[in-house]
């Protein structure tokens, strides 16, 4: 996920939280737990009346905004600047697709730099949740390429 995407996600979460706080106030609720897929927001309000969404977020606690319940994913980043390849040879199928289970050392892709390929390798066991770059896309050093849910997390997640 790029810096831009992360900021966008945080903004969406803040918006959702304001929405939920309004909902709670209107319906006289003191405790709310909301979940959508892997994203979960939970808060408890005290008896004071809620003012603007801004102060509501203060009551809800900064922690919920700073570290929302994001999926416990691990990012596999590009080891080099170059062109991202999904397979290790032309006309071959991609090395991995979303949903695949991987273990440490598995090859997930290749970054080509001056025609020299460098393998992108998983350093953990888990399940591929997201692939952020396309075949032939130029990528920077350290750019996130794959999101993997590590094995323990993947097993305890309830499939929705």
């Amino acid at each position: 996920m790029t810096e831009g995407d992360r900021r966008k996600m945080e903004a969406e979460i803040k918006e959702k939280l304001s929405e939920l706080l309004e909902f709670a106030k209107r319906n006289g609720l003191y405790e709310v737990v909301w979940q959508d897929g892997e994203l979960k927001i939970a808060f408890r309000r005290d008896g004071k009346s809620l003012g603007s969404p801004a102060s509501a977020s203060e009551l809800a606690g900064e922690e919920n905004l700073k570290a929302p319940a994001l999926p416990k994913e691990v990012l596999i980043r590009s080891p080099m600047v170059g062109i991202f390849r999904r397979s290790n040879a032309k006309n071959r199928p991609p090395l991995v697709v979303t949903g695949d289970h991987v273990k440490p050392g598995d090859r997930l892709g290749v970054v080509e730099c001056m025609k020299i390929p460098t393998e992108v390798v998983s350093f953990c066991a888990g399940q591929i949740m997201n692939i952020f770059a396309e075949e032939g896309q130029p990528v920077e050093y350290d750019q996130p390429l794959f999101a993997v849910i590590p094995a323990e997390e993947a097993n305890t997640e309830s499939k929705t």
């Binding site: 080099m80 600047v81 730099c113 001056m114 020299i116 130029p138 920077e140 050093y141 750019q143």
Partner: protein
């Protein structure tokens, strides 16, 4: 003319190059290591690419990564700045082989001038350029003719690395008894710094002045030289203060050294900009030292005294344009001084002082120029050199006015959060020897040793 230039460098010089490109209308690509994400050159460029982790070997010196970045952004030229890959023949070769223009001279010129022995040979053969007596080749401590050769050159003798630069792989020998050991020591240092242990002998001038001449050449054989720069004020072979023209030069010497510099450039078949360095005995005699095949840190002093933008010249000459003017068209318009500002603590023997710059106030006003990449809130990383930027002043009213202007500018310049050499430079500007223009390469050692406070307790 190029459409897009990738700057293979960082810090203040990367910004300098971006500015020249902007004014010509060329798009810019900045490359950076992961710790340089918030660096000013990254913010100013049209595009940026992260090419590696902090260590220079994996980022700014990483040839495949830089070429890759050029390919994915479609850059048609690479400007190497100074340091890093700017004098790396292999890099220039690689650029050529992938069809990306290296903004600098041909790989052959870089190679010739990078080997100090070959450079001397070339210059000696071309003629008309004075040289210090030397061994004319590498020396072997076990050579039976060694002592005789050294005697012929005459002590004191400097042992120098053929692949050297930056003051490394050098030893001064005053007595015959120390010659062999000094050669061993220099060879070891040369091997470690440059991977090549060859060393040669050269007559050592006591307390010389370091005078250099900027040159520019086009692909049609035309060469011009610019008024000399005096870079004598150094600490551990690192330049601190530079000025143009040299306070000890007159018109006659200026013409003579300009001619020697142009001859050197022609001997090297030099294209784009470069600098020929000389040692000056302080009176009438100068000797060829070496040639630098890149744009230099101190180029702004020449820009100010001539009104010519050297980085733009460098780019357009690399694009194949004709020089379009001769040495007689280059006028000396006044006096200029530059002070290099480093993130070092002068009270602690210039120990590096990285960290967060909490606030900055830049000097300004008439005749003051600041070339820097720092800003309030910027964190100076530990992985690279300590140069924060340069203050350059110019005055059409001569040296005294320029010195006063620099003093004034340094008083305005405030950097909070880290230690810098600004307080030290203020002392240099008011020192009587500097104000008189009478100093040699031991100026700092002589007047500022022990505590950087201008007290010589000897």
């Amino acid at each position: 003319m190029f459409k897009k230039i990738l700057i293979a460098n960082r810090g203040e010089i990367a910004i300098r190059i971006i500015r020249a490109c902007r004014e010509i209308g060329i798009e810019t690509v900045a490359v950076h290591s992961d710790v340089d994400r918030e660096s000013l050159h990254v913010k100013l460029a049209d595009q940026s690419v992260c090419i590696g982790p902090a260590p220079a070997a994996e980022s700014y010196l990483n040839i495949p990564a830089i070429i890759s970045a050029a390919e994915i952004t479609g850059a048609d030229a690479i400007h190497p700045g100074y340091g890093f890959l700017s004098e790396n023949t292999h890099f220039a070769d690689v650029c050529q082989s992938v069809g990306i223009k290296f903004i600098g001279p041909n790989p052959e010129s870089i190679k010739m001038m990078g080997d100090k022995i070959e450079a001397r040979k070339l210059v000696a053969k071309y003629g008309g350029i004075p040289l210090l007596p030397s061994s004319e080749g590498t020396v072997d401590p076990e050579d039976p003719h060694l002592l005789k050769l050294a005697k012929k050159i005459g002590y004191p003798i400097m042992v120098k690395a053929r692949a050297g630069g930056g003051g490394k792989g050098m030893r001064v020998v005053y007595e015959e008894a120390n010659l062999k050991n000094s050669i061993f020591a220099a060879q070891t240092e040369a091997k470690a710094s440059f991977k090549e242990s060859g060393v040669y002998l050269e007559k050592f001038l006591e307390n010389p002045r370091h005078v250099e001449v900027q040159i520019a050449g086009d692909a049609f054989g035309n060469v011009v030289s610019f008024p000399e720069r005096d870079c004598t004020i150094q600490r551990r072979h690192q330049k601190l203060v530079e000025e143009s023209p040299s306070p000890l030069f007159n018109d006659k010497l200026r013409k003579k050294i300009g001619k020697a510099a142009r001859r050197t450039a022609r001997a090297a078949k030099y294209v784009t900009v470069g600098t020929v360095e000389f040692l000056f005995d302080g009176k009438k005699q100068f000797y060829f030292l070496e040639m630098n095949t890149r744009i230099q840190v101190e180029h702004p002093v020449t820009e100010i005294v001539t009104g010519i933008d050297l980085v733009k010249e460098q780019i357009r000459l690399a694009a194949g344009e004709k020089l379009g003017y001769s040495k007689d068209d280059v006028k000396l318009l006044g006096h200029s001084i530059e002070c290099r500002i480093n993130a070092e603590d002068p009270d602690r023997d210039f120990a590096p002082s990285p960290g967060k710059i909490t606030s900055v106030v830049f000097p300004g006003g008439p005749g003051v120029r600041v070339d820097t990449h720092i800003y309030g809130g910027y964190t100076v990383p530990t992985h690279y050199d300590s140069l924060l930027g340069k203050v350059i002043v110019g005055s059409s009213r001569g040296r005294e006015a320029a010195v006063l202007r620099m003093s004034r500018a340094l008083r305005e310049f405030e950097i909070e959060g880290i230690k810098t050499t600004i307080p030290f430079l203020r002392k240099v500007m008011v020192h009587p020897a500097f104000k008189k223009g009478e100093y040699s390469t031991n100026f700092i050692e002589k007047y500022f040793s022990n505590n950087g406070n201008g007290n010589s307790r000897k």
